[in-house]
């Protein structure tokens, strides 16, 4: 029997994992294109670097949601 706290912790970690995977997925696509762009034109490095970190927002959302879920556990 899983306790309520366990369920909360589990859902928080699933949130985190899914968000991180989504970020990784998005970044791999951008990263691949970025390396291509750099190979063609080295000056694009700085711009492309910024583009590559843009999806990091997704994992931050995941973190915020995970913290909110854990907050439920703390309050309960």
């Amino acid at each position: 029997m899983v306790s309520d706290l366990g369920m909360v912790a589990l859902s928080a970690s699933i949130t985190m994992a899914a968000a991180a995977l989504a970020t990784a997925w998005a970044e791999q696509a951008i990263g691949a294109a970025a390396v291509g762009a750099i190979a063609e034109k080295e000056e694009t490095f700085s711009k492309v670097l910024i583009l590559t970190v843009i999806p990091e927002t997704i994992v931050i959302f995941g973190l915020v949601v995970a913290i909110l879920i854990l907050g439920k556990a703390g309050g309960a």
Binding site: K47, I50, I54, I60, I67
Partner: protein, 627 residues
């Protein structure tokens, strides 16, 4: 500080007879950014103007330039390391030819010697070949019915050879990891054998039937002699380099400038008898420009300035020292448009703040400050120097935030002497229970508040930008609408969550009314796209939570490293060594991650969340003619 250097648009018109003098004057002033003429640039004048033709001397300058540059490359001169002593004011055909002649002479002799050396090497190989196989060169006299193979293969191939024929004679010897061999085989099998050999990476050593060179010792002596001679030649080359480097570098500099001047008419509009220069000059330099032209050319030339049609003027940022270090971030992204505001000062305020918030640790801040200082002192690149200045400020902010969070290499103690008392302890967020929840909530609230402020500064900047370029009405509809929208949204939120002890009567309705007004303004300003943008602003604000998240991961790593090392320290004795190793390497890696993360994330908050609210970019850099 907050806006780029103001410019005048200048037009210089004169007769072609004074074109050369005008260019000289313009070049020596070095303040006018020339706006190049392209056919079709001026609609009205079309057909009258043509691109000017370069002065005849340009071809001579460019020819010399090619020769000088090839010498600089051939002698491996690094122009950055050469001090330019004597200024050169004229073409120096004779001296250039002399250096070329000297260089040619030495390098020809070097090539000769290299060829000789290669020949000796092959002779050496032949001698060694005969020696190892214990055969004489006489064997290699051509016989009609027999094919001869001699050389080196990667592996022994004799087994496979037997599959082709057994009528052969082979001499073999091991040569390092390879096989040296001489093979005599019936001519009919020649192509089959060659095919086989090629699979074993066969390299031929051709043996002449008569050897007219002497023993190995003799060859060695010859080689040594050539080596000495070549050393001598290289020394001469080095002397030539030392002697002519300063001349070549300053001559190149001179030629480059002269060539630029001689080819300048290519950038002007001309008619058959007159020329027309179109450009931009900083307002503060205009008086000097006018005066110098008046002195040098008097009434032969006409100069006109205007403050109109200035939208496409080049951008020159102007910031006081210290703040200008942050111009780096604009150069990395895109220079502001001439009419736009220069956000460097704001980046100067917020970049160190964000960086410090993420890497808030007294110890880490000190370490990174020292590293950046060393890099700054060591490097010669001005770009890197500027960046390091910015990073040092960021490190200082790290130290300050270290006191706020009470962190020194992840712990609260500085040695045994001093204990930091945190205002907010990020470390508590790693624990459990009410305390952790409290810290997390507090930190999230703070970061989101920072986000709201930062994004709104962006909207205010946007308001000012739009007002400068398109007028007040547009500015209100496009940018102020966001602030209206936010105000309404906050009124609603506060009411719903009972945030304040005081609330207006009907606050929820008033709030939603204001939101509606904001949305209508937005729709008028931006159209449907504006409405689509609404959720993205909310996500932008939430994005600032990374300030806390990234800092927290850095703290967690630091704490783990410390705990891990403590285990070893408690064992005592020799276990201090691994403990120190863990501490140094662990914190080293954590600092590296923290700096990269802090830098990138902070940059990203500026570029993605902040700049999108007001910044257009795409300005041309101010590059005056003659500087």
């Amino acid at each position: 500080m907050i806006e780029p250097v103001r410019m005048y648009r200048v037009r210089i018109v004169g007769s072609k007879r004074v074109l050369d003098d005008s260019i000289q004057t313009l070049h020596s002033l070095g303040v006018v950014h020339i706006d190049e003429y392209q056919p079709g640039k001026y609609k009205i004048e079309e057909g009258y103007f043509d691109i000017g033709s370069p002065f005849e001397r340009a071809s001579k300058f460019s020819e010399h330039l090619v020769r000088v540059r090839s010498l600089i490359a051939a002698l491996r001169i690094d122009p950055k390391k050469i001090e330019q002593k004597n200024k050169i004011n004229e073409t120096q055909e004779e001296r250039l030819r002399q250096i070329e002649k000297n260089y040619q002479a030495i390098s020809n002799r070097l090539k000769n010697q290299e060829a000789k050396l290669a020949e000796i090497r092959s002779q050496e190989e032949i001698l060694e070949f005969l020696e190892r196989l214990k055969i004489r060169s006489k064997l290699f006299e051509p016989i009609e019915e027999i094919s001869i193979f001699s050389g080196i293969t990667e592996e022994d191939f004799e087994q496979n050879l037997k599959g082709i024929t057994d009528k052969y004679k082979i001499f073999k010897a091991v040569f390092g990891k390879k096989i040296m061999f001489a093979l005599f085989v019936q001519k009919t099998f020649e192509s089959a054998v060659l095919n086989l050999l090629s699979k074993y990476k066969y390299r031929e050593i051709r043996i002449p039937e008569k050897i007219d060179f002497k023993n190995l010792a003799d060859l060695l002596a010859k080689k040594k002699k050539i080596g000495l001679y070549m050393q001598n030649l290289n020394l001469k080359l080095e002397q030539l380099k030392v002697k002519s480097a300063a001349f070549l570098v300053s001559y190149e500099h001179y030629l480059k400038r002269e060539n630029e001047k001689a080819e300048a008419p290519l950038r002007f509009a001309t008619t058959s008898n007159s020329f027309f220069i179109d450009g931009y000059v900083p307002v503060t330099n205009y008086a000097k420009l006018d005066e110098t032209f008046g002195k040098n050319l008097g009434t032969k030339i006409h100069i006109e300035r205007s403050t109109e049609e200035i939208d496409f003027a080049p951008t020159e940022l102007q910031n006081p020292k210290l703040i200008d270090a942050f111009e780096f971030f604009l150069n990395l992204y895109s220079l502001p448009f001439y009419r736009e505001l220069d956000p460097t000062f704001l980046i100067f305020l917020t970049f160190p703040f964000f960086f410090g918030f993420m890497l808030g640790d007294v110890g880490y801040g000190i370490v990174t400050a020292v590293i950046f200082l060393i890099v700054k002192l060591k490097t010669k690149s001005t770009v890197l120097k500027g960046l390091m200045n910015a990073m040092i400020l960021a490190s200082v902010s790290s130290i300050l935030f270290g006191f706020v969070f009470g962190e020194f290499f992840g712990g609260a103690h500085i040695g045994n002497y001093y204990e930091l008392t945190p205002i907010i302890s990020r470390e508590h967020a790693l624990g459990q229970g009410i305390e952790a929840t409290h810290v997390i909530n507090q930190m999230l609230l703070i970061t989101i508040l920072v986000g709201v402020i930062h994004v709104n500064i962006g909207f205010i900047m946007g308001f000012l930008n739009v007002k400068r370029m398109h007028g007040l009405k547009h500015a209100i509809l496009e940018k102020f609408s966001w602030i209206v929208l936010e105000t309404g949204a906050f009124l609603m939120l506060f009411q719903m969550y009972n945030f304040f002890f005081y609330s207006l009567p009907y606050q929820l309705y008033i709030g939603s009314g204001i939101v509606l007004i904001g949305l209508i303004m937005l729709f008028k300003g931006h159209g449907a796209f504006g409405l689509i943008e609404v959720p993205s602003v909310a996500s932008n604000v939430l994005s600032y939570a990374r300030l806390f998240a990234i800092g927290l991961s850095s703290v967690a790593l630091a704490v783990i490293i410390n705990e891990f090392a403590t285990v070893f320290i408690e064992m005592g004795g020799i276990m201090f060594i691994p403990a120190i190793l863990i501490l140094v390497m662990g914190h080293g890696i954590n600092i590296a991650i923290g700096v990269i993360g802090g830098f990138l994330q902070s940059l990203r908050l500026h570029y993605v969340e902040f700049f999108t609210k007001f910044y257009r970019g795409g300005g041309k850099r101010y590059e005056p003619f003659g500087r």
